[in-house]
């Protein structure tokens, strides 16, 4: 281990990966800056600096970053499990919506709520998680049993779940007399309590960190995690290791669905007073991007969720004062990061050249 620092080279596996990610981030931000300049037809450096610094100017803003990273992180963790197993399942989107509807049904129902703050939040979030897990079993079963294309199926399922979910909201949960479609207010005890005063940060943040640790332990410290990782690398692993592929796929879908559903419950109980989503929240795809940017690692997803949330918060905060800025512009950063990080050959030519130089020097 001592030699490690001595032999440090940027072309080594670890540092090179770090360099690649840094270069990707730099490129993404540079392109964002250029686009800003083009759009505003000026040298938009001050807007760009605002974008990068605004969220850290006050505790409230920074709290906003933390709150908004929670659903991103949950969606990323759920999708990460799929990707690690080699499944391109994007059903987290529909799971988020439908679990939210189920959580709402629980959280507005006085017969279920006990009046105990911790217990009520726990019940609501767990029910949302179980709902998510059950929903995820549909594409899971179709994949495990019939080997059906999970991506197209999960996308169709998203639209179907939204249709059914919205119908349920309209018919059974909506309260007449208020503008827009919304449920009754959640019962207070179901909602998560504030963690940091004078911000929106709620206890969901702790749940998020716990989940990151749990997923980390699952992936890297358990037999199941090993099977998941190996199956992602080689589809036939489960078969040859004596584990049933059917069982593995079902368990992965169950877990990912559960995490997604939980995320939805945490988001609703933490940030919302009532259910008013009138479209899909857009987290299924974002979850896929988080997983990709975070290199399918729980800690990576955590960092990616924080970074993207930070930029989105910056854009959101500036949107009020600047007509050119909107949260949707952060999609530029997201797409460039995803494209470059998933590019195996990005900077490879540079690395080969450096290694060749090294070789020549030594030899």
């Amino acid at each position: 281990m001592k030699n490690k620092s001595k032999n440090f080279k940027w072309t080594n596996e670890g540092p090179f990966e770090f360099l690649r990610i840094m270069a990707s981030i730099f490129t993404a931000l540079l392109v964002t800056f250029i686009v800003l300049c083009v759009v505003t037809k000026s040298f938009a450096l001050n807007i760009f600096v605002d974008l990068l610094t605004y969220p850290s100017r006050s505790m409230f803003y920074f709290g906003y970053v933390l709150v908004k990273m929670i659903p991103l992180c949950f969606a990323g963790l759920a999708t990460l499990l799929y990707f690690r197993t080699g499944l391109f399942n994007l059903s987290t989107e529909g799971v988020f919506y439908f679990s939210g509807v189920v959580a709402t049904w629980v959280a507005v129902n006085p017969n279920i709520m006990t009046g105990n703050e911790i217990l009520d939040s726990f019940i609501t979030i767990m029910v949302a998680g179980v709902a998510g897990a059950l929903i995820a079993l549909i594409p899971g079963f179709l994949k495990a049993k019939l080997n059906a294309d999970e991506m197209v199926i999960s996308l169709m399922l998203n639209s179907i779940l939204f249709g059914i979910g919205y119908y349920i909201v309209l018919t059974y949960l909506a309260v007449p007399g208020i503008s827009g479609t919304a449920s009754a207010d959640f019962i207070d005890t179901a909602r998560l309590t504030k963690l940091i005063p004078k911000t929106q940060v709620h206890t969901g943040l702790i749940i998020m960190f716990v989940m990151v640790v749990l997923v980390y332990i699952l992936l890297f410290k358990t037999k199941l995690g090993y099977a998941i990782r190996m199956t992602g690398l080689n589809k036939n692993f489960a078969k040859y290791s004596g584990m049933s592929a059917f069982g593995l796929f079902m368990v992965v879908h169950l877990l990912a669905g559960f995490i997604g559903g939980m995320g939805s419950g945490v988001e609703l109980m933490g940030l919302y007073k009532k259910f008013n989503w009138s479209s899909l929240p857009g987290l299924g795809f974002t979850g896929a991007l988080m997983a990709n940017i975070g290199k399918n690692h729980p800690i990576g997803v955590l960092i990616a969720a924080f970074g993207i949330s930070y930029l989105r918060a910056g854009a959101q905060l500036l949107a009020n004062s600047n007509p050119f800025i909107d949260i949707s512009m952060i999609s530029i950063v997201e797409v460039i990061l995803t494209l470059l990080i998933s590019s195996q050959y990005f900077l490879r030519a540079w690395r080969s050249k450096q290694m060749l130089k090294e070789e020549q020097k030594n030899g």
């Binding site: 759009v39 391109f88 994007l90 179709l142 019939l146 080997n147 059906a148 294309d149 991506m151 197209v152 199926i153 996308l155 169709m156 399922l157 639209s159 179907i160 249709g163 059914i164 919205y166 119908y167 309209l170 018919t171 479209s279 857009g282 795809f285 974002t286 896929a288 991007l289 990709n292 007509p323 050119f324 909107d326 949707s328 512009m329 952060i330 999609s331 530029i332 997201e334 797409v335 995803t338 494209l339 998933s342 590019s343 195996q344 050959y345 990005f346």
Partner: protein
């Protein structure tokens, strides 16, 4: 209810089926040409969004629908090039690239809308142009057929022509054979002297143009504005139709037709008192069932082997 049922067996219903089926067919063809040459194009949906948006914008600033259409084709080519660059030069997974481009298109189009119009909803405030409708001289006078086939948008006829051209290209020309060879086994194709990357580049660009045209159809004919999320999973439906077809173009087209009928039924049922949110999921359920049936069929085949 009887009224509704009988209206399914009329010329006007078939007219609607064609009307709603054209964007689906563009999407299917886009997925098909990319897929048979070995690079699955998952970004159909996103390219459609960009096609729809840029068609409206360019036609609005240039004042001509035809320049708008030209712009759409350029957008399709650019998107195809981006996909080709990252999948072939940078060795990124086509699936990840597709997912990224789709999300990008969904969000970025909203931002462009904001910048161009000041609102995030639609381009209603832009003076955009639509492509003309065509009456076909002789056919329009034939009673039933005229009612079904005549009076569609320009891009409808382009779509049908392109479908025929693709069938000829894939099944009757050496280039089509090369495309299929690259899709089946790139190393084998390479060993007999086929320039795999070149063939795939052309296929991906074709795929991009087809998807972009599908988007333009939506915003420059079917509707006269762009609204956010107007593609409504049509691109994915096309990808599903391509998957069901399994490399056979005729089956791809027929599957697309079935999905179009489902969409047509939705358009008809939307006028009734049935809950629209539930009616809207019919096409998605159809696609889901088609995918499940496809998998069962594949399983059976494997078992027989």
């Amino acid at each position: 209810m009887d009224n509704i049922l009988s209206s399914f067996f009329s010329a006007s219903f078939l007219f609607i089926v064609i009307r709603v089926g054209v964007p689906l067919l563009y999407a299917s063809m886009s997925a098909y040409v990319a897929d048979i040459s070995g690079i699955p194009n998952i970004a159909v949906e996103g390219i459609m969004i960009f096609g729809a948006l840029f068609g409206v914008y360019i036609s609005a600033i240039s004042g001509s629908a035809w320049i708008g259409l030209l712009g759409v084709i350029v957008v399709g080519i650019v998107m195809g090039l981006v996909m080709a660059f990252f999948t072939m030069k940078m060795k990124a997974s086509p699936i990840m690239i597709g997912i990224a481009l789709n999300l990008f298109a969904t969000d970025f189009s909203v931002w462009l809308l904001l910048i161009w119009t000041g609102t995030k909803g639609t381009t209603a405030s832009l003076p955009s142009k639509v492509l003309p409708k065509w009456d076909i001289p002789v056919i329009k006078d034939i009673p039933f057929i005229g009612e079904v086939l005549s009076g569609h948008y320009f891009l409808t006829y382009v779509c049908i022509a392109l479908a025929i051209l693709i069938a000829i290209l894939v099944y009757k020309t050496p280039f089509g054979l090369r495309m299929k060879a690259c899709g089946l086994d790139e190393h084998a194709a390479e060993s007999v002297g086929i320039k795999v990357n070149q063939v795939r580049l052309i296929a991906i660009i074709m795929s991009g143009i087809l998807a972009a045209l599908g988007g333009a159809y939506l915003s420059m004919g079917y509707m006269s504005i762009f609204s956010s999320n107007m593609t409504a999973s049509r691109g994915w439906t096309g990808i599903a139709a391509n998957a069901v077809g399994g490399g056979n173009f005729l089956i791809v087209v027929l599957t697309t037709f079935v999905f179009s009928i489902a969409q047509g039924v939705v358009n008809k049922l939307a006028l009734t008192e049935l809950p629209s949110d539930l009616v809207n999921i019919i096409p998605y359920v159809c696609v889901l069932l088609a995918m499940v049936m496809l998998s069962i069929q594949k399983m059976r085949k494997q078992k027989v082997k």
